[in-house]
Amino acid sequence: MSIEKRMLARELKLAAARPGDIFKPMWFLMLVISMVPLALSPDSVLLADIGSAMIWVATLLALLLNTEHLFQSDFSDGVLEQWLLLFLDRPLAWLVGLKLIVHWLFHVVPLICITPIAGLMLSVPTDVLIALLMTLVVATPALTCFSGLGAALTLGSSRSGILGVLVMMPLFVPVVILAAGVLIRATDGSEILPLMALLGAFSLVAATLVPIAVSAAIRLNIGGSN
């Protein structure tokens, strides 16, 4: 069995053993969304206006919540070290990329799947909701990569807390701005394809380059610990 298949099987087993890891960020997302009308007003016109932006920010926070410790368990039980020692025929960046893809599939896609419910609750119009879903699908790979880098950089420090999140969040700015641009255009009813293409390009470049930086950060932490 190839390494890629073995990794997928392992992640499946882990996900089945700890369903809470998938469930908790979704729970968090719904809680944040329920706070919005409570803090603002139950007026559906007002909510529809800011709803899509609120859902975007809430999804971003939920994503950060579950990516924060992306490599922690693999680091402490020695799986990362095994990657370095056993799979010499594969570059570490490739393995890291795989891990990020699998993480995105198991932990981020479920989040995206419940955003339509959140959208209905904040009375976001259907066409904006569709645009919102598309931006999330296209943008979250980049966000996952960046927050993965934050997680890898703070691996070796025992008292990092949410430092990885704090360090990486400024880099989310272009993604958030582009996604907001798409949402504004969707609300106006104008063309969103060019901006979606830009967002996709950013995600694609991030997905190819960031795993290299992540692998350097992991190597650094494993090299430093022995």
Binding site: L166, P170, V173, L178, L209, A213, G224
Partner: protein
């Protein structure tokens, strides 16, 4: 060609001794330039017919904002030197620049906000320049936090190097996206720094101050680097010798 000039930088002792002299020169030069430039700008440059005297903040705001950005680029150069030549001094420089750069970023944000009050009528507007400067401040803060969280200085230095390199690739994208975002919502009616034509009597003191702040930054970074070098090399024999002699 001899590479001695370059390899010298690998020796902390050589650097420590030279940097003391450079620091002295930079410190006095910066002091003179800044006193001359600031007094010139505050007292002798003509009043702006649109903004009145409030425009005199330019003589502090613009040089400091320039430096805040230039220092991030300088850190990226240090990160490359650290990874390519494994030069420890580059890491010391990164550490020194991060703190100084954050201080300059804060100063440029505060001076921009104070300038905004008489110009825009409010301390903070989500103007493209102010916003991207704010993001830059968060990047600096992240670097300082990351270094503080990792105990081993070598490891912390390399982690910071990775972060700086990722940040410097992103910084232009952030800047352009923020500018685009700003036009998307509302174009700023008044721009702070872009004057179509500035008479020489206005830009000459600005030039003096820009030079002065650059040299002051060099003075501060050198001073910080010397302190860090002594701290990190405290077990080296040359440091003991130096302290023992004094």
């Amino acid at each position: 060609m001899s590479w001695r000039w370059f390899h010298q930088w690998g020796s902390p002792r050589w650097f420590y001794e030279r940097a003391g002299r450079w620091q002295l020169v930079c410190g006095w030069l910066a002091l003179i330039l800044l006193v001359v430039g600031s007094l010139w700008g505050l007292g002798f440059a003509p009043v702006d017919y649109q903004q009145g005297n409030s425009y005199r903040i330019i003589y502090l705001h613009v040089p400091v904002a320039f430096l805040a950005q230039a220092m991030y680029a300088a850190m990226a150069v240090c990160a490359v030197v650290l990874f390519v030549w494994k030069m420890k001094l580059a890491d010391v420089a990164m550490q020194a620049i991060a703190v100084t750069g954050l201080a300059f970023t804060v100063l440029s944000l505060v001076s921009g906000a104070v300038w905004g009050k008489p110009t825009w009528g409010t301390y903070w507007v989500w103007d493209a320049r102010l916003t991207s400067m704010l993001i830059l401040g968060f990047l600096y803060l992240g670097l300082i936090g990351l270094r503080a969280a990792i105990q081993d200085p070598d490891q912390a230095g390399k982690a910071c190097g990775i972060l700086v390199l990722v940040g410097v690739v992103n910084l232009p994208i952030i800047k352009y996206s923020v500018e685009w975002w700003n036009t998307l919502h509302q174009p700023a009616s008044l721009k702070l720094t872009e004057k179509p034509t500035m008479p020489a009597s206005m830009w000459m003191p600005l030039l003096v101050n820009i030079l002065g702040y650059y040299i002051a930054a060099a003075y501060l970074v050198l001073g910080s680097m010397r302190a860090i070098v002594i701290g990190r090399e405290r077990r080296a024999s040359w440091v003991k010798e130096l302290v023992g002699r004094a």
